[in-house]
Symmetry: C2
Subunit: 134 residues, 2 copies
């Protein structure tokens, strides 16, 4: 079996202070950091549980994918990120099974991690990110 773990669950929020009041204040999760990603017009709060992260995504512009998601669906769960040992192998396996990927090849973040998204129409409406740490 493939080695796959849940890396994080991403949640779109309309009010970061209220969201942190729930996840950090009331539930007691540890806030690791808050990061503004200008290119994606989003502010991300990274919270830790014992085995995986929760990311709160607040759109900072009106034109991002996250802003459109919030406008059409309201706040809620946005995607699941699965950490895989070998992202090319995982993507090949999905492709072989006829699963449509949003990214044909892994994209790379500044810290060197690579990622790709599965199209929700191939996964029953769930946006799934695959992720390989450096």
């Amino acid at each position: 079996m493939a080695r796959i773990a849940i890396d994080h669950i991403a949640i779109v929020v309309s009010d970061m202070e209220a969201a942190l009041g729930f996840w950090q204040g009331a539930l007691g999760l540890e806030l690791q950091r808050i990061e503004s990603i200008a290119a994606e017009e989003v502010e991300v709060a990274f919270l830790e549980t014992d085995n995986a992260h929760i990311e709160l995504l607040l759109p900072t512009g009106d034109d991002s994918g996250i802003a459109r998601y919030l406008a059409s669906k309201g706040g809620g769960m946005h995607h699941i990120c699965l950490a895989v040992a070998d992202i090319e192998a995982a993507m090949q396996r999905l492709d072989d099974a006829g699963i449509e990927l949003i990214n044909e090849r892994p994209r790379q973040r500044e810290d060197g991690t690579r990622y790709a998204f599965v199209h929700p129409k191939s996964s029953g409406g769930v946006l799934v990110e695959l992720y390989q740490k450096t």
Copy 2:
């Protein structure tokens, strides 16, 4: 900080065979078991990742909460279940913070585990289950 881990992510599906084709067949997650819960009119497939479970929920009647969710929103992520060490303490902490709970007291499953749901209006639209193993 409270000790909290992600126990599982629950996903509502309209077609169990297609969903297993993705999660088990294409991604390679291990299928632990499939269980029919007559009282809740739902069939549940339990899949394992290295650190948490994924539960696929298929409604088996037209009148369950899961059936109504599927009819109104389509398939997708339904709730996050967080394992806590002390469910009464976690619920008290949420109550003290003004968070609305769907269940005022923990409910108990046949295997003895106890659980309660947070109302999505108190958590930015995310249905959160708290869960304490026996």
